[in-house]
């Protein structure tokens, strides 16, 4: 299962540029690993490395931090990469393609499939990436946030990008849909249910007055046939009617 060995699974590398708080580095690791990504690089973390707060925050995703590459500068961190994205909230009038996270991860998947190494840069918490960092990017990822309120933090920006990678990459697990295992009621099951109710309700005097009874019967049949009933539902509804009749008969 490719999901259990993401170290060998093709994937982009996420590069944190001069991250400040250890908590955010740990949060970024968790966000990545939620979507099966585990290649992180870290450039010049403010509080040195390793960082106890990052480890504490990463909890189950601590392995990403152990395996993370540590670099002094952006240039070194990107050295072996063929295509680099920069994430940025503001648009800076640089002449580079600006793409959505979705489009970016589609592009990444195509390039990785073609044998390229792809990196995504995330800037420091407050300031964001510097022009010098952005100059090293081939394209810019801009999350389409509310223009009146753009306040994604580092881990959230990583999360959305990782989520889009997961969505886009071919290996999206079609997670077991409980519905697929559902035993749906057949037409005949529904027909018998409709008859059961119609018979008992006729006995009870439900279809009244006479001139409306045909229309009422059709409405009731339509109700059953419009519903997405399972076999278990049909059994339950038979049981409901049977019990009401039994109750009556006990007097």
């Amino acid at each position: 299962m490719s999901r259990s060995t993401p170290s060998t699974a093709p994937q982009p590398t996420f590069v944190l540029i001069r991250p400040q708080m250890g908590e955010n580095i740990g949060g970024a690791a968790r966000a990545m690993w939620n979507f099966g990504l585990d290649r992180m690089r870290i450039v010049a973390p403010r509080d040195g490395w390793p960082n106890g707060r990052a480890v504490a925050m990463a909890s189950g995703a601590g392995r990403l931090l152990d395996d993370a590459g540590l670099f002094e500068g952006t240039a070194e961190a990107l050295e072996d990469c063929h295509y680099v994205f920069a994430t940025t909230a503001r648009q800076r009038g640089l002449t580079k393609p600006i793409v959505s996270p979705e489009r970016a991860m589609q592009m990444a998947a195509e390039k990785i499939a073609a044998g390229q190494k792809v990196a995504v840069m995330f800037g420091p918490e407050r300031a964001g990436l510097e022009n010098d960092d952005i100059a090293r990017a081939n394209a810019i990822i801009s999350v389409p946030v509310n223009p009146e309120f753009a306040s994604l933090n580092l881990a959230q920006c990583v999360l959305l990008t990782a989520y889009e990678w997961q969505r886009t990459s071919g290996e999206i697990t079609h997670y077991t849909d409980e519905m697929a295992k559902t035993e749906w009621a057949s037409s005949m099951d529904v027909e018998k249910l409709a008859e059961h109710y119609e018979d008992r309700l006729t006995q009870s005097g439900f279809f009244f007055p006479e001139e409306k009874s045909e229309g009422m019967k059709i409405n009731l049949r339509n109700l059953w046939s419009r519903m997405p009933l399972t076999r278990a539902d049909v059994q339950m509804l038979h049981g409901v009617m049977r019990q009401m009749v039994r109750w009556k008969e006990r007097g």
Copy 2:
């Protein structure tokens, strides 16, 4: 520009069920407002309401908290809603459609365009939604996270759902059709129907044996909430039950 007046913009309502930490409520508000959503409801927050920590964390999105509806129970919070999603990490073998955030927000957009009120429930931080909450949902949203590591927090789950709403709503074509004229049953209509059946069936001795009665009741509630019921359907089903009782009483 519709983004500047989201209060009137069509959108789903996000319902936080028994949230624990104020910080997470504030974080959820920010996550929503990043993508132009501002209708929040809060059910029984652990630390009371208003909550200073929520306000501090929400910073620029504080207005969502001021305008949030506060409710004692899940039922009350969903009363006027026609279609309800529950977000859950675990799958619980309930026979409800399980959909991705993307598909869910597409469905939400369609239903909202057809005149329905749509809600999305988010559970408390650790425990998640209870079965009793989930029984009130029409469908379940499951984020396709790494099966080995699912650790989305409340604000992150809200963020991804809001992000998908934003992605989807950009593409909505406003279709008007017969569906728009349908009078759909609200959650309260369905709730009352469920209660009516539960009360009468309890009297009749349907929920037997004792140790199975809770499970049977939840199954029956799930049956109603999964069905796409119109108000006319609900009236018909009330009528069916009333008639059976009348029949019994005539002896």
